[in-house]
Symmetry: C2
Subunit: 245 residues, 2 copies
């Protein structure tokens, strides 16, 4: 049985303030929890699961407290519309401040607001082998439940570092810093660059002036139809697919 205080504690982790205070986040669903237990077993603090999940995962090494819960209890602690068997409380990952290097790409996110976009971008980075994402302080929290869900398991495989983005860009001496904007160089006609920083702006306002002044190149996904813009995660995927061939 789950005591009331535990239910309250897990529910509170839906809020960034409490996640930061406690240094943990919530991961849900069989696929994600299994990946975390396999790849980051030391980070998993506590697991709450239905009986059938426990029965099916007898071979998975679990080095932390595992509690069997009922469907009703799962419903209470889950942040998902459709709760899915298992919930884990996981320690924040150690992140590092990355630096631009030749031959590597770094994503820089300037005020991405939607947690779903944040998670999807982490998943995209993981697909294309981009190891580092640098985010402005006002970007969505990557430990937000929707973001965690959208990473589809990539959350433990990409380094996501929050900082003052302008300051960080200023420190990247000689690096090519590409602003994804409307009216830049046609991405599909460019020579493939040998690394650099790719800056993706806010969903509605784009890249801020403060960040734009540190960009020394601009790229655009050519528009053929009438839509005014593309979703930020979709744009990120398209750019990386042309740069990381």
């Amino acid at each position: 049985m789950l005591v009331k205080s535990k239910v309250k504690y897990i529910q509170s982790l839906g809020q960034k303030k409490f996640r930061q205070q406690e240094g943990v986040f919530v991961a849900e669903g069989p696929k994600l929890v299994k990946e975390l237990l396999t790849e980051h077993s030391d980070s998993v603090v506590e697991v709450f699961a239905l009986k059938n999940w426990i029965d099916e995962n007898k071979r998975v090494t679990i080095n932390c407290n595992l509690s069997e819960i009922t469907e009703a209890e799962l419903e209470k602690i889950s942040q998902l519309t459709t709760p899915n068997q298992v919930v884990a409380v996981v320690k924040h990952f150690n992140t590092i401040k990355p630096f631009a290097e030749k031959g590597k790409f770094i994503l820089a996110l300037d005020g991405i607001q939607d947690p779903g976009n944040m998670g999807t971008i982490i998943r995209i980075a993981d697909w294309f082998g981009v190891q580092h994402i640098v985010c402005s302080q006002d970007s969505a929290d990557w430990y937000n439940p929707k973001a965690v869900q959208s990473t589809m398991g990539s959350i433990g495989r990409v380094n996501v570092f929050y900082t003052s983005l302008g300051k960080w860009l200023e420190e990247q001496n000689d690096a090519l810093i590409y602003a994804a904007v409307l009216g830049g160089e046609d991405l599909t006609k460019m020579q493939q660059p040998a690394g650099g920083v790719i800056v993706i702006g806010n969903e509605s306002k784009g890249i801020s002036e403060e960040v734009l002044k540190f960009c020394n190149a601009s790229i655009t996904i050519p528009q053929k139809g009438k839509a005014e813009s593309l979703n930020a995660a979709v744009a990120t995927g398209i750019i990386l697919s042309h740069f990381c061939k």
Copy 2:
């Protein structure tokens, strides 16, 4: 003032059954509603808006009933987490059964489940000038409120046709039909095709056997890192960015 029955009616349009019965859907937010009033004024049946929206849109021609509502009323009829000034009831668009032609691309969606993905794919199609999307009957409804929202105004500019996808593919004589799969031809190394049908599968199960048998080519977005897959909308964007250069 909004009468109770009207509130109930608009709320019921959150469900596909009632949308189909009534032949209408709900569009929200200043940007989307203004685009619909400008590009499809005959389709807009009724508009409900806060006073400030009405004051700001005095120059927009509105050929239907316009009701001023309060914030509290807006909250009741809105499907958004953050209601945004205006809600419109809009007639379903006339759609046509498209046919593959040389020089044009058609998207075929096989069981896309997430309404957000559906809307984002419509937006992507509109960006790349793809005019037709053919969906299997079990794909998410493009008039679902989340889908409508995710189109960001592209909803009236793309023809979305639901049908038995296998049957439809069978009718596309001689057309190149590309299955987006793992382990196909590297998209980034292919010669740019002169049109064809691009089939995108379900988010977790991919393309069904029944549809796959009508595909005569297969394409893959090369994976460099460890993520198992890409989001369906992101994959669609990447493929079109390489095909519609």
